[in-house]
Amino acid sequence: MLQILIQGLLLSGLYALIAMGFTLIFSIGRVLNLAYGAYLMVGGYMYFWVSQTLGMPKLMGVAVAVVLGVLMGVLKYRLIVKTLKGDHVAVEISTLILAVVIQAGIVLVFGDSSKILLPIVPGVINVAGASVTHNILIATLISWAVLLGLYAFVRLTHTGRAMQAVSMDAKGAAISGIDPDRINLITWGISGALGALGGVFFASYTQLSPSMWVAPLIISVAVVIVGGIGSIIGTLVVAHIVGFLEVIVVATLAPELRGVFTMLLIIGVLVTRPQGLFGREEL
């Protein structure tokens, strides 16, 4: 029981971090970035390459992954999203194609077989009879720190408030002197960074493989849909619903059914409450 509670909390924190980058884009740019899972994959592989293949310090690996994530986010906005000028379906299809291209690129460079990532922080700790690896514990703590930092950034800084303004009404924000293009660019950069960082943690939690991007994408999608459009609180709550659901299913039913209930949740919520559980809320 306690094991489930602790595992659920840890996994949910990680899922919240992963889903946040996806939610941000949806909330501000109003587009679904189906290549979001690819950020995670690229982040994971970059970390693997820098820290395990080149043998550089682990922090360096994380830093390279995050920088590359930002770069990918910014490039994707400039080259694809802006070119297609808010045609949602076109953005979705082209980001899906891009995800397939990135997956094939990973196969081209790193090969088809899956890779085990060494734990970022080795060791196991006993929390009230439940064994928890240092790795996932640290990942969760950092996830929470990043999420709190992001929340503070959005609430307190000028840029953050501009992001809220654009998410509510891009035209209105433009009239009051905000450059929506610049805000979008920043958002895509942040989203890329969150994705890449989440990818490093996610890969150390599971493993690296060229198809690893689908599961976290589906989780992000579930969180966005079930949580309602771009609400930070909604994202946190639903990340915990999905995380606990998975942990409980794995512990009590069967590990193979892990994703089934997440999928049923998406379908169920979409059919009964298309606006999501939390409806529209400011960012």
């Binding site: 999608v221 069967a254 059919v271």
Partner: protein, 315 residues
């Protein structure tokens, strides 16, 4: 109905050309053509729903997979003859199409695409866990009865099927029904405003799309003789179908066909250079560029070329 004599000449020429093809090309090329034929069927099926009505389906492998799995399970596990199992598979796929339709009546755009993606992932995970004795679990099934032997026979069967689907869809889309479907994609409200039932039109598009997907899926699995969940409910497979339709040109019949043949042969020619999944790197990059800069597809390019020729002739 907008039918012109030269349409029939073009179709006739295409049919005759395709039927004569086994006389001139090698068996290897024929096998590639078989894949292109099935991909064309799937792309037409996707286009009937998504290309026309604008309801983008990311779950087409879900429909194809239901058709394939139904007939495979019936023939392999219950020794049902294919003459019965294929119609049953098509029927089951249409019922599955109705299930996907229900959410589509309430949601649209991005959300619809996502719910269909969720359906595909759901089925992918379910076939591996529920009754592996029937579905073959993670490994899938092999030794499924095949309908034909030899490349030429497989080619004739798939060509007949593909051309049958293409011509009947082409005729259907020339009717007022086809026009109404395309109108939903442009402006759903005004279709409703003009007194048509969009629900009924959408249901029709779903059922037609599911019918073709089930038919294609069932025949495809009886051609391959095996099926695997990884190959079927896979984003790469979904990607290939969508890109074939988009690349050729949506809202046309010839477009998805051209796209399917272009894609299949491109992949085939890349095989010696890039043997594995890396092929999708080149493939996807070409698809992405073409999609971004030629969103109406190859058909549009060809048409524009013709118009320029015709104008040039007058002047």
């Amino acid at each position: 109905m907008g039918l012109r004599w030269f349409h029939f000449v073009l179709w006739g020429g295409l049919i005759a050309g395709m039927l004569l093809l086994p006389q001139v090309v090698s068996n290897g090329t024929l096998r590639t053509m078989i894949f292109a034929n099935y991909l064309a069927i799937f792309a037409i099926s996707w286009d009937v729903l998504s290309g026309r009505t604008g309801y983008v389906s990311f779950g087409h492998p879900f429909l194809i997979g239901i058709g394939a799995y139904t007939t495979a399970i019936l023939t392999k596990r219950f020794d049902v003859p294919v003459e019965i199992s294929i119609p049953v598979a098509v029927l089951v796929t249409m019922i599955a199409g109705l299930i996907v339709l229900l959410p589509a009546l309430r949601i649209r755009g991005s959300y619809f695409a996502l719910v269909t993606l969720a359906f595909m992932e759901l089925l992918y995970q379910l076939v591996q866990v529920i009754r592996p004795d029937l579905t073959g679990g993670t490994r899938g099934m092999s030794g499924i009865q095949t309908l034909t032997r030899g490349a030429a026979n497989g080619y004739y069967l798939s060509t007949a099927l593909m051309l049958g689907v293409a011509v009947s869809m082409w005729l259907l889309m020339k009717t007022r029904l086809g026009t109404a479907l395309a109108a939903i994609g442009m402006n759903e409200e005004s279709v409703r405003g003009s007194g048509l039932s969009t629900t009924r039109l959408k249901a029709f598009a779903f059922l037609t799309s599911a019918f073709i997907a089930g038919l294609g899926g069932a025949f495809y699995v009886h051609y391959l003789g095996s099926l695997a969940p990884r190959a079927l409910f896979d984003i790469n497979f979904l990607f290939t179908i969508i890109v074939a339709a988009l690349l050729g040109g949506t809202s046309t019949i010839i477009g998805p066909m051209i796209g399917a043949f272009f894609m299949t042969f491109l992949l085939e020619y890349l095989r010696p250079v890039l043997p594995g999944a890396e092929r999708y790197f080149v493939y996807g990059a070409i698809a992405l560029l073409l999609y971004m800069y030629q969103p109406k597809g190859l058909v549009e390019l060809v048409q524009r070329g013709f118009q320029r020729l015709r104008k040039g002739g007058v002047a």
